[in-house]
Symmetry: C2
Subunit: 428 residues, 2 copies
């Protein structure tokens, strides 16, 4: 065992990965703990859910990433909690893991606003498994519609409701609409998949609220053009497996028969955030996000950092900033964490974390996207090319980049989706 400082990083998402990568040449021993054996490129997971990509194309083994980095050890384990005084990470089935510096990027899941019974009826697509299960559900809905004799039941099978019009909701709605109108349009003999209805329910008065209103409007128009119906200023008040009940702002409610509902709303920070809050007295907001100091550390525990979409950051003026839960924020925080650790090794100090917002991207469908680069607002084909380039660039692993590039090229020209396999249990 070496006597070098031990850095434990919890979570192999965007933040944890950047922290580990940027501690490359530092004189520390790093242990990266994740319950999964792979890094998931979450911004593209929704494409697995519609059969555009395969799991192996959006995920990459953590051990492969750090193969040649002898100061990084990968540990596949479930983190149960922390003992901050003795500086240990508590694991579910392994002995406690001691650290000198701890970096926690536990991520978040979707919040069902207290309706946890909806989780089964309207699954999210954040993990690889849930995306695969959703792929099975969507494709099976078409299969069942093909053999269904009753017209109303068929209509319910061909109605897809997406809850939440953030980037994931918008991208998912666009993909399902294209799946129905292009990919499987000639696949069936008894139904016309183009009759599928795709409804995008959003409480706000526009889609993509993180974007400027002008781009929201363009995105909404693009969605409508490919067959998505945005239901703005509507809130889901009921889901029962057969239908979805939405309530408009004027109080009117409507029950829509729909067999497939996809959840893409709300944020629920990792339970590790609440635990760290209880241990340190740091503030935790309603979404379970922990408030960290301007340098991402915890109050009274400069050796513990937290980052990504499980935290909010206190500014030096005392204000608490809620940054968007996107990959660039987590990546910049991961790099900052690495920089802080290295500075401390050199007995130096660095300034507080600042997020450099380079812009926002969301794709709506084939050859269509919106891009808010601040100095430039793009929509349509050019925005889509920007989106493609950025996503290919940040995909981990040369192999994944090649494979995704080929899949996308083929899909673009053939409108096909080779990976539309139903592999989960049919009623999963």
């Amino acid at each position: 065992m070496s006597s070098r400082p031990k850095v434990v990083i919890v979570g192999g998402g965007f933040g944890g990965l950047q922290a580990a990568t940027h501690l490359k040449s530092a004189d520390v021993d790093i242990t990266l703990v994740d319950r999964r054996n792979f890094h998931l490129f979450q911004p593209l997971t929704y494409q697995v859910a519609t059969g555009a990509l395969s799991p192996g194309e959006v995920a990459y083994p953590l051990r492969a990433i750090f193969k040649r980095r002898r100061n990084v050890e990968v540990l596949m384990a479930e983190v149960n909690g922390f003992e901050l005084d003795s500086r240990q990470v508590l694991l579910e089935s392994e002995p406690p893991l001691p650290y000198d510096t701890l970096i926690v990027g536990g991520g978040s899941s979707y919040s069902y606003f207290g309706h946890d019974d909806w989780r089964q009826l309207a699954p999210e697509i954040k993990s690889l498994e849930s995306a695969l299960a959703m792929r099975g559900r969507i494709l099976t809905a078409f299969e069942h519609a093909e053999t269904e004799q009753d017209a109303d039941a068929r209509r319910a099978l061909l109605t897809f409701v997406i809850v939440g019009a953030g980037p994931t909701g918008v991208e998912m709605a666009g993909q399902i609409a294209e799946l129905a109108r292009d990919t499987v349009a000639s696949d069936f003999r008894k139904i016309d998949p183009r009759e599928a209805r795709v409804l995008l329910v959003e409480t706000a008065d526009r889609v993509l609220t993180a974007f400027p209103p002008s781009l929201s409007r363009r995105a909404a128009r693009s969605l409508q053009r490919i067959g998505v119906t945005p239901l703005l200023q509507h809130t889901v008040v009921g889901i029962d497996g057969e239908s979805v009940t939405v309530s408009a702002q004027d109080g009117d409610s409507e029950t829509i028969p729909a067999r497939t509902v996809i959840w893409a709303a709300g944020v629920n920070a990792s339970p590790l955030a609440r635990q760290l809050g209880e241990l340190t007295g740091a503030e935790v907001d309603r979404a379970g996000r922990l408030t960290v100091e301007p340098d991402l550390t915890l109050p009274g525990h400069p050796e513990v950092l937290a980052l990504g979409d499980m935290v909010r950051v206190r500014r030096e003026n005392g204000e608490v900033e809620t940054l968007p839960g996107v990959a660039p924020v987590a990546m910049q925080q991961g790099r900052y964490a690495a920089k802080l650790v290295r500075a401390r090794l050199d007995n130096k100090t660095i300034g507080p974390f600042h997020y450099r917002d380079k812009g926002n991207l969301a794709t709506i469908g084939r050859a269509s996207a919106v891009a808010d680069l601040h100095f430039l607002r793009l929509s349509g084909f050019l925005a889509w090319i920007t989106w493609l380039t950025v996503h290919l660039w940040y995909l981990v692993g040369f192999q994944n980049r090649m494979l995704v590039f080929i899949r996308w090229s083929i899909s673009f020209f053939t409108r096909g989706r080779g990976a539309r396999l139903i592999t989960a249990q049919r009623d999963a």
Copy 2:
């Protein structure tokens, strides 16, 4: 509804697919029934089990294959049985399906020789789901070995037993050995994956009994070179999840602690074979295979054909021939079935089915294979190139061919396996 003759094909494997494809321009309406929505390229499924390929690369949606073939309807449904007198296929949840000609290619599964309790402990890797579950088991064994403190337990975690040295067993053993010795060799910090033991248990006195003895010997030598230990003339007599007990021909038995056991032995024809046997009086052998007439029809039912590894074929001299359960047999039988249906439409007759054995191929590891082309026996690199070419050629879908080619090229040069993701439940 058209009044054209209705051909129902049960099973979207190699036989069913060829039958449907070669009835392309025939004046018939075809319904292809399969419980899955995809055609699986079974000869490569084992590569999914070791993370060399992704599910979407060895499977292709049936509807996509027949998209532009308006006389082919694909039906995703479970076949429960047949009513031969009224000419109907009985489905689990849909109304019966009437036919004029029925072609059944139900395939086979592995036989556990009466030990059905072994199925959970020593899973097979024939389906996409079981291959994915096995991938999870193999990779998790390495993960657990990395954190295991006890040396004996660690050794059991790093011992892999493959039962059956046919092509699948040999290929699987070779892949696991390479996974341990090349792919993940530098991935771990506490264990040396190269210490993994890979045992290949076979009752016969040589591996690959379908090949000439000289090639079996070369295959065994290649296996040993990459770290596989063939246990010939040994039979598995016990599996309990912790260990495997094998018995030598002299009666000596040995218990080997091993946490991962993979089953690749025996044949169990689809239960549809036995059903058709009972309905027609056709002979059914111990492996559940149905004996069909020289033209693949059932005795007394010239309108019903059966093919693939669920049948044996009666020759015109009365002898019953057991053809190998490989893709080329099923494909030739599928083409023959289509030819017979077309001949009948023209009121013509054709001769009996004859299998043209073009040879046998099995790969042993990176750049190594054996090929018995009858006029030529190859081993090593040339055999491997032959193997590559044949498998890429027969993969369905241009996209799959491209993707698999790229995966293999990258794997060849980097010895990596990008798809080694643990996505199944950990203890699945």
